[in-house]
């Protein structure tokens, strides 16, 4: 009996030590996570005030930010994100979600277990059950097949693809943000070693609506719609932005893209922001002025994404990258269920997530 009591106490102590180690590890991880993001936020803040000194956060605003960060979000670690939002907006707004709060408090609470399945571009069409993804063919475990499951050899695939297309896009699984995307004409297709890419999808090239061509031509402008699915209610789009490229870009890449905010009615924000939050009231290459321009078929794009998310479930938030074609068709380029970005639009047109209770998730 004595041995039993001793054993029980030893196990309780062991569990306590384990829990302490876990908590310490979690705290350290959060600290590293915040450090990385807040270093960037401070740079963004410096970038904003170097462009426009009047955006400097006033002492009174700083006090409000610190109080809100501590009392509502539970820590001062969220101050840098709130500060860069405030600097952009010239005023502090309640309800903002800083990037690190989103990443380490919100997403773990609302993300599903399988959200990384968004990496599998080969399976997106069937998962989402939609004809709005421009897939032409797949390579799965070494087999080439068309979208209806028909297996084909490499020569047959080449013939089918380039019968009607001058070029196609090959997207590898686990590729994102333009990386892992290869543009192929017939010649390049013949010469590349298709077996070296792992699993991939081949998609047709898309043409964008004239509205987006007027902003800049070359790359496809990407409308980002971010749908949120809360329990018991239908999915709603909560955050939208438009990403446009620069002259010379074949497709949108992180480093060169400009992000324009989009209001709930589909109107573009006053400024676009570059990678370091350089502010552009007009496109630097074409002079296109963003303010008050309304995206065509915006409501339709929202409805498409909301419907797909409702039927899919899987996770609480999805960022959809959309292309709108000349005849108003909504085409899905990508969907991001792991970490759909929010910070550009929170600054440009936010706060976007009021009423969801996200500020209480840390409690």
């Amino acid at each position: 009996m004595v041995r039993g009591i001793f054993r029980h106490r030893f196990m309780s102590l062991k569990q306590t030590v384990k829990n302490k180690i876990k908590a310490h590890r979690q705290k350290k991880w959060s600290k590293d996570f915040d450090l990385q993001i807040n270093q960037k936020e401070k740079k963004l803040y410096q970038s904003l005030i170097s462009q426009d000194k009047s955006r400097m956060v006033l002492p009174m605003q700083e006090k409000m930010i610190r109080q809100y960060s501590m009392d509502v979000l539970g820590s001062l670690d969220f101050v840098p994100g709130l500060k860069s939002y405030t600097a952009y907006s010239r005023e502090f707004k309640e309800g903002w979600i800083p990037n690190n709060y989103y990443g380490r408090v919100v997403l773990p609470s609302i993300k599903g277990d399988f959200c990384c399945i968004d990496n599998l571009k080969t399976h997106s069409k069937r998962l989402l059950q939609t004809d709005l993804i421009p897939d032409l063919a797949y390579c799965l475990a070494g087999d080439f097949m068309l979208t209806d499951g028909t297996k084909v050899c490499e020569n047959e695939l080449e013939r089918i693809l380039f019968e009607v297309n001058d070029f196609v896009f090959l997207k590898k699984n686990n590729s994102m943000r333009g990386y892992g995307v290869i543009k192929l004409d017939r010649e390049k297709f013949k010469n590349c070693d298709l077996n070296s890419f792992g699993d991939f999808v081949i998609q047709s090239a898309l043409t964008q609506h004239q509205f987006f061509e007027n902003i800049v031509s070359g790359s496809i402008a990407t409308l980002r719609v971010t749908t949120v699915k809360a329990k018991g209610v239908l999915t709603k789009n909560r955050l939208s932005s438009l990403r446009v490229g620069r002259y010379g870009d074949e497709f949108i890449r992180d480093t060169t893209t400009l992000v324009v905010g989009v209001s709930p009615n589909g109107f573009l924000s006053e400024n676009a922001l570059g990678e370091n939050w350089e502010m552009y009231p007009a496109h630097p290459d074409t002079g296109y002025v963003f303010k008050d321009q309304q995206i065509p078929f915006f409501e339709l794009a929202e409805k498409v994404c909301e419907d797909l998310h409702d039927k899919l479930g899987l996770t609480g938030i999805i960022g959809w990258d959309i292309c709108i074609t000349p005849n108003g068709s909504v085409q899905i380029l990508e969907w991001n269920a792991q970490y759909p970005g929010i910070n550009y639009s929170e600054a440009l047109v936010g706060p976007n997530f009021n009423g969801l209770g996200w500020e209480n998730l840390w409690k």
Binding site: F114, L120, H123, Y138, L140, A141, G142, D143, D199
Partner: protein, 357 residues
């Protein structure tokens, strides 16, 4: 810098120790089942007892080829039943913690999401009627269903349906619902789920036992650049009291994967051997499963189309119209012990025994 090396050394030691503890915790219940299985086999027939030479061989193989003596218990069960040791066998714990994570990858639990199975597999052979996702009802066609119409939607043409929760397996998380029990159920407590049409099995199976739907388990393996091939066929039948097959209380009949012919002996969940069904007296030897070839072709085709995984365990039923219906697909840890024991090894030539090297 000098200080970092000891810290890194300690960290690595700690991680190695944690991994070893995890493996030990994983192996323990699986090997306890192996010990009980071995004891039960020997209790039924003392000739099943492994000789000292066999035990030595098993231990050596387990350590030198598979990498640990922790894999010996199931090899002992297989050897006991077949009377000799065979290379290439897959012990359950080796298969579960070494092979499946490596060959099926990070999405191996995808088969647990019953609300997405139909769309991932792109097949009409899964009898889904509707889904409950984040507390919103949708039909298979994607229409939002209004709560007031639900009872009529499900029960105007049938007396009962089956509710299958996401992450449910081995018969758990399945609820049979009639109109009354459906109306009284608190769905909000169940997470996401699918509602499925009941499957009426082909009359041929009623001679074995009635009550639950006999489930044909087909295990397909697909290597890169090759077509998917069935490696194991096995029929699971219930006991006379069961409404549906439960893993812990059913019979498993090994089937010749080329011809669909039953082997003469079936196994209870506790490894009791049966030559006839204990409740109905149905004799297994020489019977040929109808539509076996059709079921195998379907599973191989679906595996080819989905890619993603190297091994899939399919649970299929044959209905009154002799159509094949997919009940479940298992990509996390398809069961192998009964088939390895009875008619294996089934996974030779794939290099799986070298994955820990």
């Amino acid at each position: 810098m000098l200080f970092m090396k000891p810290i890194q050394f300690l960290k690595n030691k700690f991680r190695k120790s944690r991994k070893a503890s995890w493996n030990k915790a994983y192996d323990a219940p699986i090997n306890r089942k192996a010990e009980k299985a071995y004891e039960n086999l020997v209790a039924q027939n003392p000739d099943y007892k492994c000789s000292a030479a066999q035990t030595k061989k098993i231990t050596e193989y387990s350590k030198e080829v598979l990498g640990s003596s922790a894999f010996a218990p199931w090899l002992k069960v297989y050897t006991a039943y077949q009377g000799e040791f065979k290379e290439g066998w897959m012990p359950d714990n080796y298969f579960g913690r070494v092979v499946c994570p490596k060959i099926n990858g990070e999405f191996r639990r995808l088969g647990d999401l019953k609300t997405l199975s139909k769309r991932i597999l792109q097949t009409d052979t899964i009898p889904d009627l509707a889904y409950y996702i984040n507390r919103v009802w949708t039909s298979v066609e994607g229409e939002i269903l209004v709560k007031s119409n639900l009872t009529n939607f499900f029960f105007s043409e049938r007396e009962y349906v089956f509710l299958k929760k996401n992450y449910s397996l081995q018969g758990n998380g399945i609820i049979k619902l009639n109109r009354e029990s459906f109306e009284n159920l608190d769905f909000q407590k169940l997470g996401d789920f699918v509602i499925q049409e009941p499957i009426q099995q082909a009359d041929w199976f009623d001679q074995i036992v009635t009550g639950s739907v006999a489930t044909l388990r087909i295990t397909t393996v697909k290597l890169i650049g090759e077509k998917a091939k069935n490696r194991v066929s096995q029929l699971r039948v219930g006991r006379i009291s069961n409404e549906y097959i439960k893993t812990k209380d059913c019979l498993r009949i090994p089937i010749d994967r080329q011809t669909g012919t039953f082997y003469p002996r079936a196994f209870g969940s506790d490894f009791t051997i049966f030559e006839k069904h204990p409740d109905t007296g149905y004799s297994f030897e020489g019977k040929i499963l109808p539509e076996h070839e059709k079921a195998v072709r379907l599973c191989e085709k679906l595996h080819d189309q989905v890619g993603m995984f190297q091994i899939i365990g399919w649970d299929v039923a044959i209905n009154q119209k002799n159509e094949i219906q997919i009940m479940e697909w298992n990509t996390d840890h398809p069961g192998v012990v009964f088939s390895e024991m009875a008619t294996g090894p089934h996974f030779q030539g794939l290099g799986w025994e070298n994955l820990l090297v």
